[in-house]
Symmetry: C2
Subunit: 315 residues, 2 copies
């Protein structure tokens, strides 16, 4: 019988669970369960175990064919699998690898931070496939990411490596305060929220015509659509965004010199239009020996976490 | 008989060669030979071999007690030991590990970029001893450094990881052009040359009294000495320098989340006075989960390269 593993991505609202074949590394089934955060998140792991057990029964997979479970957690986690106060789930500090393994009768469990695990997923079977030194930059509600070196996640001493959204990026006096409390983090200009806010600032500062002015609510998509049509304000915002991202990525490249930079998250739906502009700014600001890094779009979308979690076991 | 290895640091002017005992990792002898760059640097490896052979004879060490040779090269070098056009030595592209090993009768040879190797040396027996996730920032004629993760050098895809001097750092219009051709690299403000230039700009811009005004030639040491005495212009420069360094290091920490930041190079002779100011600026700008990184001064000075090269073999 074929060997399998599960790749699990624990989010604040739902837990995504993927069943992968171990030999050919294919996702053969996936499903979601709600993330029950009540009672300090104490139901989350039991719920996961229950649905794994049920899936094994449903698929007639015997226990000795389950080679392991990988799991991504939305918070800092150390190299040995210790979660350090995951506020998103209501969890305190404990070793999630040991605990989940025990609950599953001793099966191998590997855990990682969700953004880092997503980076591993994109390296394994996504936009960074074929490379082993990668940086993922996720532009979503916030800005996150992960650093992969030699095909392995860089975890950092407190599980905080790859916190790309918190690179100091904006140095002028009007820099915004980030959700983390610092001023001028990359996230303040690179997240969807930041992009909309910066665009509104540009609209307020200028009397230039813009199709954006007629909209009651401006979304990130509106801004990219307008920029693609040549709208001046929208184009100015996309240029500014690409400048900050290109610069920050040039800084990252001077530190780890990756082969490939993968851009993911909701904002990356702007596609090659945005990717090319980021790459241009990167090229203008990157040290020559790091310049040949390739730029690619993430391809796994919301499944990157499941893939990466499975990669912790079978890649 | 005791096992030994050599740690070699190839500089643009001299080659430093250290003999280390393998079991207790002690530097038992060291010497220098000139770096003969003529004839496309073709004498450098033969000169090294000759002096190694002579040292083995002098110390009555038999060939089978030599377990390896580590070597640091002042240029980019890939993971497999391939030098990529080392202009400092006149070298083209070749595998220095294979070539030197062949010349030494098959002994194990490991090579690395000199700055990265120095970072490994400081991790092994220097200011970062006891840690395995480290960033070395070297403030000298230029700004260099190295990144160590899990006790191993991060090489990068082109051997250009740890090129910390070329992180974009100065964003205002008056940013200086770096030796690498880019504008506003950390090196333009963080190197000894940059520090002196920035101080002269501050002196020209202000009419404030300063002991520096009476000096015919201002050195970095003069600036730190004056700042320690409370000189306003010198203090302003040290504050500005620490701001740029603290910010850049905060960015590095958001990428690799190190346990310790080691500051080395000639400028670091300013000691704890400078270290504390850099650390303050780091604390103000670093993401909370990366903030507990320790700051330490490099302790191996010009020997860091020899130590790190030996560490490639015996650490």
């Amino acid at each position: 019988m074929e060997k399998v593993c599960f790749g699990i991505d624990v989010g604040g609202t739902t837990v995504k669970i993927g069943l992968f074949t171990a030999d050919d590394a294919k996702l053969v089934d996936s499903f979601e369960i709600p993330t029950r955060k009540e009672d300090e998140g104490s139901h989350i792991l039991p719920d996961i175990c229950e649905s794994i057990e049920a899936k094994l029964v449903e698929k007639k997979i015997t226990r000795d064919n389950l080679i392991g479970v990988g799991i991504g957690i939305p918070g800092p986690i150390t190299k040995d699998g210790t979660v350090l106060n995951c506020v998103n789930l209501g969890w305190g500090m404990f070793n999630v690898e040991e605990k989940l393994s025990q609950m599953l009768g001793g099966v191998k469990v590997k855990a990682g931070n969700d953004a880092n695990v997503a980076a591993l997923g994109e390296t394994w079977q996504g936009g960074g496939r074929g490379f082993e030194d990668l940086v993922l930059v996720t532009l979503g509600t916030g800005v996150g990411g992960g650093v992969i070196i030699g095909g392995k996640i860089v975890t950092g001493s407190n599980g905080a490596a790859g916190e790309i959204g918190h690179i100091p990026a904006v140095y002028d006096e009007n820099a915004e305060i980030c959700g983390c409390g610092k001023k001028g983090c990359l996230e303040t200009v690179g997240s969807a929220t930041g992009i909309v806010r910066e665009t509104k600032k540009l609209l307020a500062k200028s009397s230039e015509d813009s199709t954006l002015r007629s909209l009651e609510e401006i979304t990130c998509k509106d801004i990219f659509d307008a920029a693609k049509e040549g709208d001046k304000i929208a184009s100015e915002e996309v240029d500014q965004l690409s400048y900050y991202l290109g610069n920050a990525i040039a800084g990252i490249a001077a530190v780890t010199n990756p082969q490939v930079i993968v851009i993911g998250g909701g904002v990356s739906k702007a596609g090659k239009f945005l990717l090319d502009k980021i790459e241009d700014n990167f090229s203008n600001n990157a040290f020559h020996a790091t310049k040949n890094a390739k730029f690619a779009l993430a391809t796994l979308g919301n499944d990157a976490g499941m893939y990466g979690a499975a990669a912790l076991i079978i890649a």
